[in-house]
Amino acid sequence: MAKLGRNAWYDLTRATNWTPKYVSEDELFPEEMSGARGIPAATWETYDEPYKTSYPEYVEIQREKDAGTYSIKAALERSAFVDKADPGWVSTMQAHYGAIPLGEYLASIGEARMARFSKAPGNRNMATFGMMDENRHAQLQLFFPHANIQRSVKWDWAHKGLRTNEWAAVAARSLFDDIVTSRDAISTAIMLTFAFETGFTNMQFLGLAADAAETGDHTFASLISSIQTDESRHSQQGGPALEILIANGKKAEAQQLIDVAIWRSWKLFAVLTGPLMDYYTPVEARKLSFKEFMQEWIVAQFERQLLDMGLAKPWYWDILMRDLEITHHGMQMGIWYWRPTVWWNPAAGVTPDERDWLEEKYPGWNKRWGRVWDVITDNLLNDREALTLPETLPTICNMCNLPITHIPGDDWDIKDWQYEYEGRLYHFGSEPDLWCFKIDPERYKGHLSIVDRFIGGLIQPATLEGALQYMGLGPEEMGRDAHLYAWVEKFRRAKAAAA
């Protein structure tokens, strides 16, 4: 419509740095908020965002996107998909909504940090759109689950989840606060947008959207794939910041920020997305396994971006590649076993057919995790449900705030990586978790994991019930087996047939 194309005037929208006179540049851009790392403002002015948009384009495109997303929701509302969906899929949605909307909302603080404190004018403008995007993602992912609020109190967790001390909420906040809300503008550009959004949100928003479409949940599929179109734009803020850091002798520092952010993001996705994709989603609707999604999005695409940038793969790459086969299976088992401590109903996902699928995707699954599930299945077949429920709390990693897990069975290799610092003994689930702590202990040293709080007497009464209350879980909110053990009946029938 406009007579002048965007290229004609775009540069003027980002010619907005000036030399302050009445306050100093250091006052205007305090290093702890800005993170310019001694690189002059004139150099930051060369920041060139690869994905350009302007205000009129933004409001037009976003209005259209919302019109599409909200109208699909309205059109499909009467079909009441959620009432007919497999309980495992309902749990997928409830787990997603409990962890994501308020995290998205807080991401707007990271964006606002860049919009105010980045010395790169292009970054400040793109982050303004990023603030808007994250505002959108929070609002969409609150409005959609709210429509289900009368169905179950578990939908309340879309709003309540991150406001509680439930352990998965603590773990999610621990990641978001580390890489999104508490860093300077340039670190945020790298950790939030380049590492987390470029690398990982594809997993949650495209991988899960593919599964949703296969499941028949077109509302959820259209919602989260629409969100990803925003992510793929604003995630490109980190690249040009990295280029400036690398060109100005800050490559090692940039690499370290990326390495921390990728490892920390991986752990949260291993507990959240891994089980959803490989255990909760009905097996016939699984597009790819979690490992395959990770290999496609993280290994193939993100690794190439890193190398193109002149950066190296993180030092722990071999550990990560190995753990793609391992970590989330242990997390799944932990979540299911400690199911009263989560707000959704964990699906076991281990019927004979599902176990075949797991063995095919993860050769050796049966002799590792399968053997433990054999014991659980046997207990349920013999009415010993109590043995499948927790009485104690697990050991929690002081970095990711998730249980320490790895391979059970003959290949047992579970290790508590301990480290003493200033007289306190810390526990870590892996070498990279310990490394994140060691390179910056001041960021983490005073933080208490849920178990630290329990042992320290901060959770009263000091019982499992007390812990559940502390986590905000009322009797109706605690998780139970998603299928009410219907899956166990398949084993009973198979056993009867064999006899």
């Binding site: 037009e60 209005r63 807080l106 606002a112 709210h146």
Partner: protein
């Protein structure tokens, strides 16, 4: 465990369950979203002594402007993301329609040479000022103690980028028509050296380092924005119309719609703050400190316009004072 517990049915978030009426879409998607205010002294799930925790303790929690429940704040426009884009896409269609129509009529070619020179010194450098408002709103966003306040600041940040974008567009059009006037090239030098801008420049540089969240809100929303809007939007818009620049007059009028919306939520937030004893004194104390800088900005901007400028400056000052006085301040 295998038996289903009886389900209690909720009508809305448990967070909003105390409200008597059914919550609006605005309340469902906007309220209670800042988890870092639940334990404000330890805002982040990290060591409590990291610098960013200290920043929020000092500049948010220890603000002298107090309220027992900032989360009770509601935007009188009940603006949400979805409606913001519907509103502003319409507004942008209007403004770009103006740009195109006036361009078709050869509007810029008909401007008097003196006015063109005036635009180069008095208008196009305003992009620095608009961008500073964008930065200031982004700071209020990240420091506000309630998500309903943060959201207002989110949309204000975008609005200020909108004004900056309009200015950039017009600057390029003017540069195309008048290639020797320095449009698109001289603005930074003028912004940094021309005496007419130095009042606003001082105001805005100092405002950007007012770190207390409520002082930042006060200086931007109660002093800087009214002063700037009354000057460069309202009265300069009048001046533009008087000089045959109808387009600029209509553009600034369209931008004022955003400013009026900002004043509505600002007024609501001040009204809420004044319910707490002691806050009037705090706000008036800040106004005492900042209003002289705001008024100096107005006076310096209009000074080169002689008698006409003096009258405009007086009106702009009075309008800014009236806005505050109507809120029971100053």
């Amino acid at each position: 465990m295998s038996e289903l517990p009886a389900q209690k049915s909720l009508k809305t978030w448990s967070y909003l369950s105390g409200t008597r009426r059914r919550p609006s879409e605005y309340e469902v998607v906007s309220t209670g979203l800042h988890y870092h205010t639940i334990d404000p002294d330890n805002p982040w799930e990290l060591d409590r002594n990291i610098p960013m925790a200290e920043w929020y303790r000092v500049h948010r929690n220890q603000s002298p402007l107090k309220h027992h429940d900032w989360d009770a704040f509601r935007d009188p426009d009940a603006m949400i993301y979805r409606t913001y884009n519907i509103l502003q896409d319409g507004q942008e269609n209007y403004v770009h329609g103006l740009f195109d129509q006036f361009s078709d009529r050869g509007h810029d070619e008909m401007l008097e040479p003196e006015w063109v020179q005036c635009l180069a010194t008095c208008y196009t450098p305003v992009r620095y000022l608009f961008h500073a408002l964008q930065m200031g709103s982004a700071y209020i966003h990240q420091m506000a103690p309630a998500s309903t306040i943060t959201n207002c600041a989110t949309y204000a940040t975008a609005d200020h980028l909108r004004w900056l974008t309009h200015t950039a567009y017009r600057t390029r059009e003017l540069a195309n028509t008048f290639p020797t006037h320095g449009f698109g090239e001289q603005e930074r030098a003028i912004w940094e050296a021309d005496e007419r801008w130095q009042g606003f420049r001082e105001l805005i540089e100092r405002a950007l380092v007012a770190w207390d969240w409520a002082e930042s809100f006060t200086v931007f929303m109660l002093v800087a924005k009214p002063a700037i809007e009354e000057t460069v939007l309202f009265h300069f818009g009048d001046l533009a119309r008087a000089n045959g620049d109808t387009l600029l007059g209509m553009l600034t009028q369209a931008q004022m719609r955003d400013a009026e919306r900002h004043r509505r939520w600002t007024s609501a937030l001040v009204g809420m703050a004044l319910q707490t004893d002691g806050n009037r004194k705090v706000l008036n104390g800040w106004l005492e400190k900042w209003v002289p800088l705001g008024e100096a900005g107005i006076v310096k901007f209009f000074a080169p316009f002689g008698v006409e400028g003096e009258a405009a400056a007086t009106k702009a000052k009075l309008a800014s004072r009236k806005f505050r006085a109507d809120l029971g301040l100053g």
